[in-house]
């Protein structure tokens, strides 16, 4: 008789339940249950289009800014598809990139120290890791401090983080002074120094030259290197593998490329994205079903019928980054590689933010008023954004001055959604074969679980 365990998983964004089927002490099947539902897509229906800018960020407290950008882009596309020119200044474009990148940096720092590291306290002897102890540990506290510091930049441009709605079709609402911009540069420098000293244990220029695991751990004694050594000790460099197929739906300026990589890299095509509701309480026609086999509020999403992993590792692979191509070749899409990709992004994004800040010309307009009120338009628009956890897709249709339909596919739906008839979701697949519940939880956390986004 197979044995079944069901655990409420904490230390993720929101709560998720993991149901595991065991046979001879090995996990034979895994069900990721997202049990909570707020109904954002329903609530948005019938609202004035611009109100989406206020409502969608509130889907998620840690990546709400990405939702703001997705709503902005989706609404902007309605202008374009209706044949109207919509101008955005380079300044507004830069500022949007800056604030989105800062949210991702914040996310990755918090996640690595608050969600990932504490697992090793349960695996390893606690004394050597006491700096990582939640609430009390020095390193835990430092991570909270620096992740809070970087979002001050969002506050400079958007007034606050979380939950500003300072971006709208036509640009941004702020008009920063040069002094504000350079104080943001100062903040980046401080966080970058922290990244160098604590996380990678070397300077960023040297780090960006690294192309292999061995080279890195020979040169570094930072928290990332400690993490890598611990992962190897517990064999986590070779487990937690999913499908080794990667999706990124949008370019992140010139930093990361969109694309689809299974064996070869191809271009992403939105038309090939399909939602599947076989195991979801929420059906595609927006009705509910509590049929016995259903187990999650999240729908599944497939590209050409196949599950794909999204997120930082997908971005690195689709951008053909040498270090991650090498790691992937050797270790595939393992726990270690997936997490390293997230931590790696912190450095790249910090450098990117600094460059963008320097490029802002304050003489340019922040906002160029669209030629028409969006309420006078009709049509459909997509907003594609690479958020902290990967590919975020908003689709909005507007009719008679109101939102007619709003559909959201979050990164967590790609990674942690339920199965379809043929395939498990990437995270479900990655857990199978594990022999301990703790490592199953760790692997699930390596996807940076956000249950509030998974179901919204």
């Amino acid at each position: 008789m197979p044995e079944i365990t069901k655990t409420v998983l904490n230390r993720v964004e929101g709560e998720i339940t993991l149901k595991l089927i065991w046979e001879n002490d090995v996990i034979k099947d895994a069900f990721i249950i997202a049990p909570n539902f707020r109904g954002f897509e329903f609530i948005l229906e019938g609202k004035p289009p611009l109100d989406a800018l206020v409502i969608t960020p509130r889907i998620c407290g840690i990546c709400g800014h990405a939702h703001l950008m997705a709503s902005t882009f989706a609404l902007e596309q309605i202008y374009k598809s209706a044949g109207y020119k919509l101008e955005i200044s380079e300044k507004a474009r830069l500022i949007r990139n800056i604030t989105l990148a800062c949210e991702i940096i914040q996310n990755h720092i918090r996640w690595f120290y608050i969600f990932v590291y504490p697992d090793f306290l349960s695996l390893e002897n606690k004394v050597s890791l006491k700096d990582f102890e939640p609430i009390k540990g020095k390193k835990w506290r430092k991570a909270v401090d620096f992740s809070s510091k970087i979002v001050k930049i969002i506050s400079i441009f958007g007034g606050q983080w979380p939950h500003t709605s300072y971006s709208l079709p036509g640009g941004v609402m702020c008009e920063p002074t040069n002094m504000e911009i350079v104080s943001a540069v100062g903040i980046v420098d401080e966080v970058l120094r922290y990244f160098e000293e604590d996380i990678i244990g070397m300077n960023i220029e040297d780090y960006l030259q690294i192309t292999s695991l061995r080279e890195f751990i020979n040169k570094s004694s930072g928290d990332l290197a400690t993490f890598i050594k611990l992962s190897k000790k517990f064999h986590l460099h070779k487990t937690g593998r999913a499908y080794n197929r990667f999706i990124s739906v949008a370019d992140f300026d010139t930093l990361f490329c969109s694309g689809i990589t299974s064996r070869k890299k191809r271009l992403f095509d939105i038309k090939k994205v399909k939602e599947v509701d076989t195991y979801s309480y929420l059906l595609k026609d927006k009705s509910f079903s509590f049929d016995k086999k259903k187990y999650s509020w999240s729908k599944a999403v497939r590209y050409e019928g196949l599950p794909y992993e999204t997120g930082p590792l997908a971005r690195q692979i689709n951008s053909e980054n040498q270090l991650f191509l090498n790691l992937n070749k050797k270790l595939r899409d393992s726990y270690l590689v997936r997490i390293w990709a997230r931590v790696d992004e912190i450095g790249k994004l910090l450098v990117f933010v600094k460059n963008c800040l320097k490029k802002i010309n304050i003489k340019e307009p922040s906002y160029i008023k669209p030629v028409k009120d969006i309420k006078e338009l009709e049509g459909e628009g997509y907003g594609l954004v690479e958020a902290a956890r990967g590919s975020l897709i908003h689709r909005v249709s507007v009719k008679e001055g109101k939102i007619k339909d709003y559909n959201i596919i979050t990164p967590s739906v790609w990674n942690l959604g339920p199965r379809c008839r043929k395939y498990l979701s990437p995270a479900e697949k990655a857990i199978i074969g594990q022999k301990s519940e703790l490592t199953a939880h760790m692997i699930l956390r390596s996807f940076d679980v956000c249950s509030v986004c998974t179901t919204h």
Binding site: K6, N10, R11, E13, G14, E15, T17, P35, N36, R38, G39, F42, I43, K47, P48, L50, D51, V54, I55, R58, I59, C60, G61, I62, G64, I114, P118, D119, S122, I135, R141, V144, D145, S148, V151, K152, S155, I156, F157, G158, G159, Q160, W161, P162, H163, T164, S165, Y166, G170, V172, M173, C174, E175, Y281, F288, P365, S366, Y367, K369, V452
Partner: protein
């Protein structure tokens, strides 16, 4: 021993994320004085249900029961393990010295209470304006307070930290009509906004994206109609939405998600339909007329060009 237990209902976790941003003092320094029993995003080796049982059986004292998120008793839409959030709060409500609702969802129901397919979504003691929340209107926790509402979508971290410290140091917390700490919510969002000069002289912001001009007249700013110290205790110790150029959307008030067209000012013959708290429409029109006929050269120039 002081203890704190943090529960989440239907939420985006934004209040937790906001709290992590706290400075002077930081969120975590609270726990030099208080034992954090459980927080879903932070704890790593405790079992929530074991903690709940110990509290229920008086084996563990509960000083602060903190709830983030709206409450529903419908397990199809929200559950933690086999329980609804309503069942868990029910089990603990008599045990806590203080119950604190953080964020508009826990206070008033907020956005999730607008989902019409689940009509059983509420705040802890309010549902929007009415005292028809999950707990009865006359409910008081062990220390004699109703649920203390720290409203906002999300809350500013300092509002929470100050409230907890105030209670720890045994200072009374005065509450307003919505059971919010008066010393925080007696201010209007408008108080301290860098655009006050333009408000006084009725100089409107024509279009988004400028430092100059007040957002009250065209962009829907709720600053003079909203209770919060957003421009007194700055966000991320840095700025505020209205300072940056985004209108206040009134997110500390019960009716936040009931309103629409956040970026427009509803007007009647050129006059905002809703006038600042404390003034009658007549007074407002008079003062606007006066301000507009008198000239202030400074407010009509770009800030860089002023003397």
């Amino acid at each position: 021993m002081y203890t704190l237990l943090w529960l989440q209902g239907l939420t985006c976790n934004g209040n937790t994320q906001s709290l992590l941003n706290a400075e002077n003092p930081s969120f975590y320094t609270l726990f030099d004085k208080i034992n954090l029993l459980y927080h879903p995003s932070i704890s790593y080796d405790v079992d929530l249900f074991e903690i709940i049982n110990q509290i229920k059986n008086d084996k563990l004292p509960l000083t602060f029961l903190v709830v983030e998120g709206s409450i529903t008793s419908d397990k199809r839409f929200f559950s933690i393990g086999d329980y609804s959030i309503a069942q868990i709060i029910d089990a603990l409500k008599e045990k806590a010295d203080y119950i604190i609702a953080v964020g508009n969802c826990a206070c008033f129901g907020n956005i999730p209470a607008n989902f019409d397919k689940n009509s059983d979504v509420k705040g802890l003691q309010f549902r929007f304006k009415e005292k028809k929340g999950f707990l009865p209107s006359n409910f008081k926790s062990k220390k004699g307070y109703p649920v203390i509402n720290i409203s906002g979508c999300p809350i500013h971290p300092q509002w929470f930290v100050s409230t907890i410290l105030n209670l720890l140091y045994k200072k009374p917390v005065y509450l307003d009509g919505f059971n919010r700490p008066k010393e925080l919510y007696m201010y209007l969002t408008h108080d301290g906004c860098t655009r006050n000069e333009y408000f006084e002289w009725k100089v409107e912001l024509e279009e988004f994206g400028h430092k100059e001009g007040c957002l009250f007249y065209n962009q829907g700013c709720r600053g003079p109609l909203t209770h919060s110290p957003c421009n007194k205790v700055l966000w991320n110790n840095t700025s505020s939405k209205t300072r940056a150029g985004m209108p206040c959307i009134g997110c500390t008030e019960f009716d936040f998600p009931l309103r629409e067209n956040f970026f427009e000012t509803k007007k009647n013959m050129g006059i905002p339909e809703e006038v600042p708290i404390g003034v009658s429409k007549r007074v407002y029109i008079t003062i606007t007329g006066v301000a507009k006929t008198l000239k202030n050269e400074r407010v009509n120039k770009r800030l860089e060009e002023t003397e």
